[in-house]
Subunit: 431 residues, 2 copies
């Protein structure tokens, strides 16, 4: 062990104050928009019984698990996603809540993947779900939230698009060609690969399902002719003034097996990145997880923190909005106390406490230091004001650090003076 220096594990991130502030911007925006749309927050355990994930998803996810045996011999897994836990909790708790449940969650998930741009071994996810409502009004409400989340980050029409599809349209397409229920997942997986697989391979594989590539491409090219509920969803979103963000795109089917109806993905307009968010209906999952005890239709989506952050940083108006937020929220303090004479430290401490009790973020030197050092510390702290507790006390001098102008007030009136100044429209926010 001697000589070893420790680092974060590959694919894991240290959130230094600057990085943590960016994370908080994402979290605050997610939380704010979800609450405005009537969703309430929940959280699930980071660690779960492995069976919960094996039962549900299978496929790719099950090879990416942080899975181990705990000290009690249990087969446990760091959650790779949240929907399985949500289904477990919703099945157990749904009676205590009016329907539909509109729930959101913000938390970390873990997948053992190759770390690369836009992907780590841990990531934060914004999960939003509506449970207990089968109609297209729920799908539209959910997609509206996805759009308003993007708008809340400062994105405008032209920056992103929501591609909406309906698995049921493909199921009907396939059923008309004699595809059985058992073969349906394989057929949908094939459609999921339309944009990634070579035409000759697709043609051969489609022939096994009694379809041709031309038929499939025609179906994708004319989504408005396909049977599906997305026309109703589109009409709903148009009534909200959000129709322009949506396009029907039957090439979207989503990877996971549990989706049952309308599915959608959010992409940047140039499609230069992975999907920013994705989701859809999973009407049978709660029944599966609860062993049939609770049958509850559901729809939901998730947005990870990696891709949205990249997209914000590469979109100037969204990046600028984030910068403004960071400057207003990430500063260590609003005011910094300068104490020229150490004998006055007691007076300064009392004022510090009064300011903090009033909700004003204040810092001070923690040991005796020369006055110019203290002013340097005030500048570095990001504070707007340096408050000087000097020989004029109980008069205190206040230096506005940006303009280098000086004002003064009675010590007993400092809290009110400061509150007034911080309430000015361009002032920093109060903690």
């Amino acid at each position: 062990m001697a000589g070893q220096t420790f680092q974060a594990l590959p694919g894991f991130r240290d959130f230094t104050p600057r990085e943590c502030a960016v994370r908080n911007y994402l979290f605050d925006t997610w939380r704010k928009v979800a609450r405005r749309c009537g969703y309430v927050e929940y959280e699930t355990p980071i660690l779960e019984d492995t069976g919960l994930y094996l039962k549900k998803s299978g496929g790719e996810l099950s090879s990416q698990l942080f899975r181990f045996e705990d000290q009690g011999g249990r087969d446990v897994t760091l959650r790779p996603e949240v929907t399985a836990s949500l289904a477990r909790i919703a099945a157990a708790e749904q009676r205590a809540y009016p329907k539909p449940l509109k729930w959101f969650e913000i938390g970390q998930c873990f997948r053992y993947e190759k770390p690369q741009k836009g992907r780590g071994r841990e990531f934060h996810q914004f999960n939003v779900d509506i449970l207990g409502e089968a109609g297209p009004g729920a799908d539209a409400e959910l997609i509206a939230l996805a759009i308003q989340t993007m708008q809340s980050f400062g994105f405008v029409q032209g920056d992103f698009v929501v591609r909406v599809s309906d698995r049921n349209a493909w199921v009907k397409f396939a059923e008309a060609r004699g595809v059985t229920e058992e073969a349906m997942p394989d057929f949908l997986n094939l459609v999921d690969k339309l944009e990634r697989e070579k035409p000759e391979v697709l043609e051969e594989k489609l022939s096994k399902f009694g379809a041709t590539l031309t038929e499939v491409n025609d179906f994708v090219a004319n989504p408005e002719d396909a049977e599906g509920t997305f026309q109703e969803i589109l009409k709903d979103l148009q009534a909200r003034g959000l129709g322009g963000f949506v396009e029907l795109d039957l090439s979207i089917v989503r990877g996971l097996a549990y989706y049952t109806g309308v599915v959608f993905e959010v992409f940047d307009s140039t499609k230069s990145m992975r999907a920013v968010a994705g989701g859809g209906r999973y009407d049978t999952l709660v029944g599966t997880i609860s062993n049939g005890a609770v049958d509850m239709p559901a729809t939901g989506f998730a947005m990870g923190d990696y891709v949205i952050r990249n997209l914000i940083e590469e979109t100037p108006h969204a990046a600028m909005q984030m910068e403004v937020w960071l400057q207003r929220n990430a500063a260590g303090c609003e005011a910094y106390m300068v104490i020229p004479d150490p004998a006055m430290r007691g007076e300064a401490l009392l004022l510090v406490t009064a300011l903090r009790n009033a909700g004003i973020a204040v810092d001070l030197p923690l040991s005796d230091a020369k006055v110019n050092k203290q002013f340097q510390a005030a500048e570095k702290s990001g504070a707007r004001f340096a408050v000087i507790i000097g020989e004029e006390f109980p008069l205190v001098k206040i230096k506005v650090l940006a303009s280098r102008t000086e004002e003064s007030c009675e010590a007993g009136a400092l809290v009110d003076w400061m509150l007034d100044r911080l309430m000015e429209p361009d002032g920093p926010l109060i903690a």
Copy 2:
């Protein structure tokens, strides 16, 4: 697998919306008070190299680890505490920040313990640290934050007490009796057990260190005679008006080996519970973790979410403050749209979007329902207003649900009407 119903693992919690709101109350209060006192937020990985914990703490913690081998053959551990990671990050990043670093963190830790009241296998922790300042001004600043955190939860003098001690006082006591540096940890561990071990056992064990139980008890009984920096800390806290919350208590030495000086614990006044918070100086840890690359004095404390929640719930004035917060923050929405005629759904959707864009939390029925069902949903939603989009449109009726009075306004003026009403002093907060 068939027939299995899943539950959270023993010692792990599901945060349903009600539980999550309580969690958020703790988080918001912690975050608010830390920011006011000039601390900035950071976060460390949930999963770390196991060596990081073995190097530092040893002892009890190392038997309680959720430790496993990842898919890449790494020996990894779910973090049992945050200070080791903080020391790792601070050593690597400290050059980019002015000193002292005043950093806080709110996150989950994991220890394989027997679940019981006040203790689970996961818990949330509020970690606050000052790095790069060796003087007692830092210890006082940190203890002041611990006190102001308690005050922010509504606790007043008489509800809790901070017991402050100094390991160096015991080191000097022991050195005067010839205790060597190597034997010092064992001696301090013995002092840590003063209140739990039988007198005859203590007497025998103390004799090996050249001390008697009477000498030890006299030392504890007269802390003001002991050499230590706590007199300076007390003077600082008195200047802040916080002296009444503190008592010197040399029986506190804290369990972990890395503490080097002033240590303290926060207790409810009746001492009926485990410590609410605890911490102290760890001047050598950053050097140890960084293999001597960075030498940085430090002090910090942690507060877990289990004990503080129990204490809030058992203290009426603190519990009432939490209830008020929950009522103002946990409601799903402020207004609920009632749509008697489904043909008016489009008009309702446009208003919903306008209200949400203005920051007002609004909900609506997601499928057609009878009017009385819609009013029931409005009541259950916790909304203050039901907005009726009826045949008088573009005039909309607004029912104040608490008073059952009715008002009305033009649809185009609804956002302003609602903002005015929600800004009233007793109104709910806007998301």
